[in-house]
């Protein structure tokens, strides 16, 4: 089994990872009754809308890594690339419910949708108001006109940021939903994979991608993309991803956007910045202004090599929500106010 992984029993991958995370961050996170349910140490926050997320493991910092201040409140952690159960989602829901309702914010994958929907029904039956916003930002996963079938990829990081900031302000569930929907409707992403990944319990790459080739539009689990071909330079990759993304919404001359360049796992940060450089150049020549920039690993696929680009169209409200501080053990943004510029902090 040629699997170059630092693990013990492959079937204990998720539970041991979770143990490690909880041991490393006891001041930030606590587990619920079910060891696969993790919430903020200070949950529930009375009067604050709770945000529950979840999905398959293998994508850190998605989903668990977004449980924190100004982000989500709780997560149900599935097996690698598999949904958590509706019971687990329900437990997370109860744990974070502070009386103001709960937002379910997660990626549009059929297993997750079914289990979150089931949990939502059960939670409503218990008198917890639940609303759902799905990340469905991957333009390569279904054509225009079938947006509802699209899957969620790294753009979800920006949705957590928006939803979490609005909820932290004390907004109502309807207001949190409105802001998150506004963000989701102006969010588009697309990725390129340069290598497959290996599920610990399978021990085999999920597909072959010969060296020297790339697959444009591949999903974060290795779902087929729109084109496989010879690996091209970063500039050509940026062009192709942006061509699909820009024409899809479409983003127009004069638009302001946040850009997120995300690494899928094995791709070095150096390459992400090389890719960002081209992305920014192309956006500039398209008259699209980059107002906020996120470059790093925000949603991975184990050790897959590759990257994705996300654009979020900004208005003043969304820009402000993106600029609010947030902090989890995995994702910190201090916020746009930079007191040290005014002389120390």
């Amino acid at each position: 089994m040629p699997m170059q992984k630092i693990i013990n029993d492959p079937n204990a991958f998720v539970d041991e990872m979770l143990e490690g995370v909880l041991l490393a961050h006891p001041e930030d996170l606590r587990r619920a009754q079910d060891p696969r349910v993790v919430v903020r140490a200070d949950a529930p926050r009375p009067g604050k809308v709770g945000i529950v997320t979840g999905g398959g493991s293998g994508h850190l910092p998605v989903f668990l890594g977004y449980v924190g201040y100004g982000l989500a409140d709780g997560v149900a952690v599935g097996n690698v690339f598999a949904s958590p159960s509706s019971e687990q989602i329900l437990e997370a829901t109860r744990e974070v419910h502070g009386g103001a309702g709960v937002l379910y914010l997660y990626g549009n994958y059929s297993g997750d949708v079914m289990n979150f929907d089931l949990s939502a029904e059960l939670a409503e039956a218990e008198g917890i108001e639940v609303a759902t916003v799905l990340a469905a930002d991957d333009v390569a996963s279904a054509p225009r006109g079938s947006e509802a079938r699209r899957r969620g990829i790294a753009g979800i990081a920006l949705l957590y940021k928006v939803a979490g900031a609005r909820a932290e302000e004390g907004a109502s569930l309807a207001e949190v939903v409105a802001a998150t929907n506004a963000a989701a409707s102006g969010l588009r992403s697309m990725g390129v994979a340069l290598s497959p990944c290996v599920l610990p319990a399978a021990g085999q790459p999920t597909f072959d991608l010969p060296k020297g080739e790339m697959e444009i539009g591949m999903g974060i689990h290795g779902e087929p993309g729109v084109r496989r071909g010879a690996l091209e330079p970063a500039e050509r990759i940026a062009e192709q991803l942006l061509a699909h993304i820009i024409e899809d919404l479409p983003y127009r001359r004069g638009d302001e956007v946040a850009v997120l360049v995300n690494g899928l796992g094995a791709t070095p940060k150096e390459e992400l910045y090389i890719l960002f450089r081209s992305v920014r150049e192309i956006l500039a020549s398209s008259g699209i202004a980059v107002r906020r920039t996120w470059v790093g690993e925000y949603a991975t696929s184990l050790e897959m090599a590759g990257a994705s680009v996300s654009l979020l169209r900004l208005d003043d409200e969304l820009a402000e929500l993106l600029d609010a501080p947030c902090e989890s053990p995995f994702v910190i943004r201090r916020g746009a106010q930079r007191p040290r510029k005014e002389g120390g902090r």
Binding site: G78, F81, S83, G111, M114, T206, G217, G222, P224
Partner: protein, 210 residues
């Protein structure tokens, strides 16, 4: 209706073992269009199912199927796991109703399972999912019921129908991924969920023939 030791519980055991021993093949098939974990997921479902069987030796069919559905939902909550669980839970209700027993009940249970799975998963026939296999199995079982075939004969026909439906999915487009410029990786390979159904039914039919 009491689950005969070689009856429902025996069938479920045989199906679970067959699926569990196809882990690698199901992962491989799921890898062409999906994320390559169907075998892992279904092995977890099979384990959950066998634990239920061991703990519920004397249960009625209705209770047994319901317990299986609940266990699978808890321990294998992937897409296919959740759908299979949904099917078990709905089938449990049907076998609990008074009815003809035998092939007729089996046909009704599968029909109910298919409806529940489609309601939950929103997939239509032709979408290249397990639903395509279920549809073929339901048609076959209804035909066998009308024709008055024996349970063993009906199971054989249903298994054949599932295999044929699985083969047919190999020519279908998956609904996800544009695959607009080059041939799709999944083309030529059957849907993994459908293949899982066929494997389970074939094992049951083979076992029923002894």
């Amino acid at each position: 209706m009491r689950a005969a030791s070689t009856g429902l519980a025996g069938f479920l055991e045989v199906a679970a073992d067959a699926v569990a021993s196809s882990t690698a093949e199901l992962n491989r098939l799921d890898g062409f269009a999906g994320d390559g974990d169907l075998g892992i997921t279904m092995a977890a479902a099979a384990r959950a199912l066998k634990e239920v069987l061991a703990a519920n030796e004397k249960a009625e069919s209705e209770a047994l199927l319901a317990a299986c559905g609940a266990a699978i939902a808890r321990h294998a909550p992937s897409t296919s796991g959740t759908l299979v669980a949904t099917g078990f839970l709905r089938a449990a209700k049907v076998v609990g109703e008074p009815g003809g027993g035998g092939v007729e009940t089996l046909a009704g249970a599968f029909q109910a399972a298919q409806e529940a799975i489609q309601a939950r998963g929103k997939a239509a026939v032709g979408d290249r999912t397990i639903v395509d296999g279920l549809q073929a199995v339901c048609t076959s079982l209804q035909g066998s019921s009308s024709a008055g075939l024996s349970l063993t004969e009906a199971l054989r026909a249903a298994a054949q129908a599932a295999v044929a439906a699985t083969d047919a999915t190999a020519a279908m487009e998956p609904r996800i991924g544009r695959a607009s410029w080059v041939p799709d990786r999944a083309k030529g390979h059957p849907d993994a969920g459908c293949a899982m159904l066929a494997i389970a039914l074939r094992a049951v039919a083979d076992g029923a023939g002894d």
